[in-house]
Amino acid sequence: MTYLDAILLVCFRLFNGDRSRSAIFHLVSGKKTSQTIQDGHLYGAQDFFQIFPDITRETFDLSCARLAHSNYLLQLDEQRWNVSKEGENALKDYFNSHHFPNHLKGWLYHDRAAVFWKRLLLLTQSLSNYAYRENRFYPVQRDPEVQHWVKSVFLKWGNDRNNYTNRLFLELTDLCSEEKFPDHPDFIIQQMTGYQLIGMTANQLAGYFSIDIWEVHIRFLNSLHFIFNEIQNQNKYPILYSMQEDLTQKEFVLTVSSEKTLIYINQAYSVEQIARIRNLKKSTIEDHIIEITLMIHSFSIDRYVHHSMQEEIWQAAAQLNNKRIKEIKEMVPDASFFQIRLVLVSKGRMESKWKIPYLNTLGSGLSEMVKKK
């Protein structure tokens, strides 16, 4: 099993056989559609959003084929697959001897952390060359916006640059020395470039640690998301904090069609009425409402599900310890599938993440030995 296989298996496990293979592909490759984002939140898999931004469909399908071939995935029907008993065991074994990425926050950080990382790489390279009195070097980042940002910071710091260099060094050292730093700092620091010292590539790290390239990628991302979370503490890491404070989380904008639906909802039209007026299927309007519920936290679902039924559904989900809509439906037969989804989504948005005991046990399987190398 490659590291990619294992992570995908975790995603399949979270989706519980409720969603198609493509849904998982869209999640990990980071397709920004309301369906993918809904799926992510509904199944507590949003932390895996865009963790493999460059993965091709071919690579993904090959990985799925390997999993199916080893009988770790069982085919439910043409589109849907679920994790088998063997798969569960294999996964536990795998993460007993491999690092598990507890700190991934894909949905929350995917775009901001990537920009922060590029800035850190180029700023470090620039400060290093400055410290060694070299003003000509080939930048390791060619993204014009990142170059522009580094230039402006460089100018702003002016003659105080040496002081800032020292402080950035201390902040990075402190950060990587933190007791709870999740992994070997090599995954971050060895990729950094300085004066006449060029950073290692992911491939080279893979060779050095004798692990596969997917593991390098995820362990790097895991550490990066950990760092991104830590540096929100402005008092402790003022310089690193300042390197990302202008990056605001891009709010997910409603799709045009959902926005139209929202206008009708605000005018107190019912689902059926809106479907008629807009000449759309009822189920489409319901999808819009799910999307709205997910994105607009103040949106109340009380008009679609009575409060007592909300409680009933929620308790059924808690009792079953899953979000399989069909099973909940058996326990609350009066509720429609739409109502069940709506309740799960609205609770999910408040908790921001579904508590999945499964992931926690996997995480604790991480042994010290694995952590250090």
């Binding site: 290093s128 060094f169 060895q190 300085g194 010292l197 060029i198 060779g207």
Partner: protein, 465 residues
């Protein structure tokens, strides 16, 4: 250059870009540089910036829409404008260029113009017209290698009237030439491994397959004492930059690459260039070995040859040929759809095939019996390429001096006899042996951080106490 059109055939890295940078400073004029490869263009831009010039821009598909708009608006303020041939044909680009004062028109890798060259780029054929639109500025065609025939093509297509020719010899006396004939693939890999361990680095090994370059690089990186990485167009840009820079700063001993590597790399001390596969032409070969020994010190070219290696390349060439059925389907679709990608997918064409067919559709659309016409043209092209292959095979199999064989191909005079010439004239590998220990130091993360930030370890300890 004295304001006269010029064709310059210079070895890569011999300061080609100075040819157009220097004149620009003298006349305060704008220079437009057409460059076919995106990565190469980026490298050149970085090199010019590296020398302190900020008024330089690269117009290519990497540029985001907003940036492109801004760049076009301010185009007349840039001194050096790099552009890809596709971009040059856009209407908004033509308009923006009309506000500029282009006094020098540079065509880099000009051999791509020639249909007979191995790197033919149909986009290049419109350059003559573009030159006219720009008001016929002085034109400089740059190329690393081109036969007499290709040079004639370049002059004709760029409407160059009796141009100056600066031709440097393809013969590089400080590079010794050697061919090893092997009988099995396994033997070839072992031979390579032996060379990697024993020959002087830094060095490049050229492969025609990305996959093999990756596999052998990672295997030999583990099993030899040398630091080796692979490099090809399949890697992401960030990673390509790192590997290139590691090589330049001597952090890598060997690069296992496809022909994508080397064009923009300025490195003086490359000691050895090995070809694991047969190059597609003498032009490509000479250009690739020419990356060795730019510092003038003795260097080495080795070609590993397995009999029938040329068969692989010939088969690849045949694969490049679209079938009659594909050509006629293309004709139908081309008239109804403008979505190139869709045409490519539906007919099952490769990118190269699509590019070539597209070119003929634009150029010869009125021809009667277009399908047969195109098929014939393509057959001619493939035949030409095969004859290039044969030339390359002759280099390998001939019993005469290899240096002489090279100069013959480019219609140059016979080379002066020299020591350390080629394996036919006889030379020992000893002078090319590696006598340096590979620097095998892996810094801990703490060491790396303090080196990068030029902080000594005690800064840390004083702060902690």
């Amino acid at each position: 250059m004295a304001g006269k059109d010029t064709v310059a055939m210079l070895p890569t890295g011999s300061g080609k870009s100075l040819c157009y940078q220097f004149p620009s400073y003298l006349t305060q004029s704008q220079v437009l540089i057409v460059s076919p490869l995106l990565s190469l263009m980026q490298d050149q831009v970085e090199q010019i910036k590296f020398r302190g010039e900020k008024k330089v821009i690269a117009l290519n598909s990497f540029l985001a829409f907003k940036e492109r708009k801004r760049a076009l608006k301010n185009l007349r303020y840039y001194r050096f404008i790099f552009i890809s041939p596709e971009m040059l044909n856009l209407p908004e680009m033509k308009e923006a260029l009309s506000s500029c004062r282009i006094n020098l028109f540079v065509v880099d890798e000009a051999h791509c113009i020639s249909q007979w060259g191995p790197d033919f780029r149909p986009d290049y054929l419109t350059l003559g017209k573009i030159k006219e639109d720009l008001g016929n500025p002085v034109t400089l065609a740059l190329t690393a290698t081109a036969t007499v025939k290709i040079r004639a093509d370049i002059c004709q297509i760029l409407n160059m009237d009796n141009p100056n020719e600066w031709i440097y010899s393809v013969n590089r006396p400080n590079i010794a030439l050697r061919v090893d004939q092997l009988s099995t693939f396994k033997e070839k890999v072992l031979k390579l491994k032996g060379y990697i361990e024993s020959l002087a680095s830094p060095g490049i090994v050229y492969f025609s397959s990305k996959k093999l370059a990756d596999e052998l690089a990672s295997e030999m990186n583990q099993t030899t004492s040398k630091k080796i990485s692979s490099y090809h167009a399949g890697l992401e840009q960030d990673q390509r930059i790192l590997i290139q820079q590691q090589f330049i700063t001597d952090q890598l001993d060997w690069i296992f690459a496809t022909s994508a590597f080397g064009m923009g790399v300025n490195k003086e001390n490359i000691r050895t260039v090995i070809h694991f596969h047969l190059p597609s032409s003498m032009e490509a070969f000479v250009q690739e070995i020419g990356r060795a020994g730019r510092d003038g010190n003795k260097s080495l070219s080795i070609l590993l040859y397995l009999s029938k290696d040329e068969q692989i390349t010939t088969n690849l060439l045949e694969l490049e040929r679209p079938s009659i059925r594909q050509i006629s389907e293309f004709e139908k679709m081309y008239n109804t759809s403008s979505d190139l990608k869709k045409i490519e997918e539906q007919i099952g064409l490769s990118e190269v095939q699509n590019r070539v067919l597209h070119y003929y559709a634009k150029k010869d659309s009125l021809k009667k019996n277009w399908v047969n016409h195109v098929d014939q043209q393509i057959s001619t092209r493939i035949l030409e390429k095969k004859s290039k292959m044969i030339q390359m095979t002759e280099y390998v199999t001939a019993d005469v001096c290899r240096r002489q064989k090279i100069t013959q191909c480019f219609d140059e005079d016979q080379p002066v006899p020299q020591l350390l010439c080629c394996d036919h004239c006889g030379f020992a590998l000893d002078p090319f042996k590696d006598n340096q220990e590979s620097l095998n130091t892996h810094l801990t993360w703490q060491e790396r951080l303090s080196t990068i930030f030029k902080e000594s370890e005690n800064v840390r300890s004083t702060k902690n106490t």
